[in-house]
Amino acid sequence: MNIDSITLLNWARGSGFEWALAIFIFGTLYRVLTLLMLGRKRNLAPAKSAETSAGVRTVFRRFAPAKGLFSKAPLLHIAGITFHLGFFLILFFYTPHIEALKTVLGFSWPALPNSVITATTVVTMIAMITLLIYRITDPVRRFISDGHDYFIWVISFLPLLTGYLAFNHALLPYTLMLALHILSVELLMVLLPFTRLGHFIAIFFARFYSGSDIGRKGVSS
């Protein structure tokens, strides 16, 4: 029997997911532990104010645009925040996703209506396309971007696109599209810890470190 879409789907839901999850957990743990195990020298200069709480504050404060910066790059801010927020909403509040996460985590939570998720997906894709155009056209963005940036854009965009097409039963038969969607998510899971997408976990450490370094000097950042 040749490989048909249901076999592909079963592989994606079974062995494919198992590998992807294992690599994701391995990679994320590897990144976090090797980061922590490098260690930091104790700072011998007396702190002006508490550094740990300042670090924690910065972890949260940097979710919002820096003061005065929003007006300098409104498009980048709006598209960037929309994309991240949209991705988060779709990932964690669409019924089938919650069912999948329930298997991994063992608990679940209420979903958002499908119509909200569909609309969010469209908006999120538009935001991502905007960011891509911005990256290509803006001189600064184009200068600092390399192939890796465009590669991770594609990797992040695929799950949105295939998910949207699968939900709408468009382009390819549903079973195949669903299989492709799950495979694209697995590709994302595998690459997350080993590419710049690893910022999903690293930024929390980066914010904490810089927040506490700046915070110990009595400056909130």
Partner: protein, 419 residues
């Protein structure tokens, strides 16, 4: 070792948890560009802050990551060459004042200016440094001051100050509470600062002294980015302070001097200080809060205040100057972005000591010029000798009608005479 291997080695030496977190966090959003005056004023993408740390990031990838090591072992990694170092030297020294605005805005929380400071270690070690900065550092190491100011010159200036103020300036007084440091610019160009100190401490009855063996506060090692040299300069102050058994050391109206002695000092020499380091503005504000400073009269001119980067963002001295100014004037007109996010004068981080960067420094001064013009005033107060110098030069370059004053000396003018 070839120079590029020395550089790579120096990069690797400094890798720690925070570096690792920073290098993993950047997604090239480029928002830091909006925070950097070299980028905003030149519109040249090469001044995008995150680009300035590219070589150190490359070192991290090649030496501290699995994939990087793998690629390097099969010869696919991009090496760090001397050409790279020369190219980046121009953005790392001429195009960065270590003002720290980028570190404040990065959504990922990357302390970009902190990384640039560390990256400079590798540039120094591999001798990829601007000539002017190198020579200033050499003078500082050999003569005790980047400007070549030596003890006889100081003593000569002190005589003038004593004559002007009628107060005696204590030198090498053992057991004094406070040891005051000076920057050579203050000694040579702004000796009125020394007079102001004498007046204020006399007024507030503060026990203080200068140290003949350790009067220079500036740290050329910090400016060029060499911890080895910076540590030696810090040691001079520490041994002076310990010899005189002072309780406190006062950092003068100079930005990087405060960073060098207050924040980097103990880490550079590898042991905590036996004394406290305090910035002159912090001390003055403390005296004010204790009621030991009494002013009379009021300065009725309108003026604006320039926040030195090393004091606000990198030192947390933000409200102190405003409290002090509030004692004798209500004429302060804040410039846009005043306070923690104020823009750099363009001369910090060694730029003002680097003649090669002079044209660029004038171009980026445009930012400060616009800020000042926005307030519509012709007088500017600041609290950093280097900022003061840079702004004076910038104002001259752009033919601005601008009067620049140091905060401490202005405060001294309005002190109530002692009974």
């Amino acid at each position: 070792m070839s120079t590029n291997t020395i550089a790579l080695n120096a990069f690797v030496e400094q890798m720690d948890s925070s570096m690792s977190a920073y290098f993993q966090s950047c997604t090239h959003c480029g928002l830091c560009a909006e925070a950097c005056l070299f980028q905003t004023e030149t519109q040249d993408p090469k001044y995008t802050p995150i680009h300035k740390i590219e070589l150190m990031k490359r070192a991290w990838q090649q030496e501290m990551t699995l994939t990087g090591k793998l690629l390097k072992s099969i010869g696919l990694a991009k090496p760090i060459t001397d050409d790279d170092l020369s190219e980046w030297e121009k953005v790392v020294y001429d195009g960065c004042t270590l003002c720290g605005r980028c570190s404040m805005v990065c959504p990922a929380g990357i302390d970009i200016s902190g990384i640039i400071r560390k990256a400079r270690e590798a540039f120094v070690a591999s001798k990829h440094t601007p000539e002017g900065l190198r020579h200033g550092t050499k003078r500082a190491m050999e003569l005790g001051s980047p400007m070549g100011v030596q003890l006889p010159a100081l003593l000569a200036q002190l005589k003038h100050v004593e004559k002007d103020t009628g107060l005696s300036i204590p030198v090498d007084v053992e057991g004094a509470d406070y040891l005051a440091l000076l920057s050579s610019m203050e000694i040579m160009y702004y000796p009125e600062y020394i007079g102001a100190l004498a007046k204020i401490f006399d007024h507030a009855n503060v026990s203080w002294t200068l140290c003949s063996e350790a009067f220079e506060a500036t740290n050329a090692g910090i400016q060029i980015g060499s911890s080895d040299l910076a540590a030696e300069l810090v040691e001079r102050i520490v041994s002076g302070a310990e010899k005189l058994k002072v309780k406190h050391v006062i950092s003068p109206e100079c930005g990087h001097a405060y960073t060098a002695i207050r924040w980097e000092g103990p880490n550079l020499i590898g042991r905590p200080f036996s004394f406290h380091v305090i910035h002159i503005l912090e001390l003055l504000d403390q005296l004010r809060a204790e009621g030991r400073l009494k002013t009379t009269g009021s300065w009725d001119e309108s003026f604006t205040f320039h926040d030195p980067c090393q004091l606000v963002r990198k030192g947390g001295v933000v409200q102190e100057p405003r409290h002090l100014m509030g004692m004798f004037t209500t004429g302060l007109k804040e410039m846009p972005d005043a306070g923690v996010m104020n823009w750099c004068c363009g001369g910090g981080g060694g730029v003002s000591a680097n003649p090669r960067a002079e044209d660029l420094k004038h171009i980026v001064f445009n930012k400060k010029k616009n800020q000042i013009e926005h307030t519509g005033v012709n007088t500017l107060v600041t609290a950093c000798a280097n900022c003061r110098m840079t702004i004076e030069e910038g104002a001259e370059h752009y033919n601005m009608d601008l009067n620049i004053i140091g905060l401490t000396e202005k405060l001294a003018e309005y002190l109530e005479p002692n009974q």
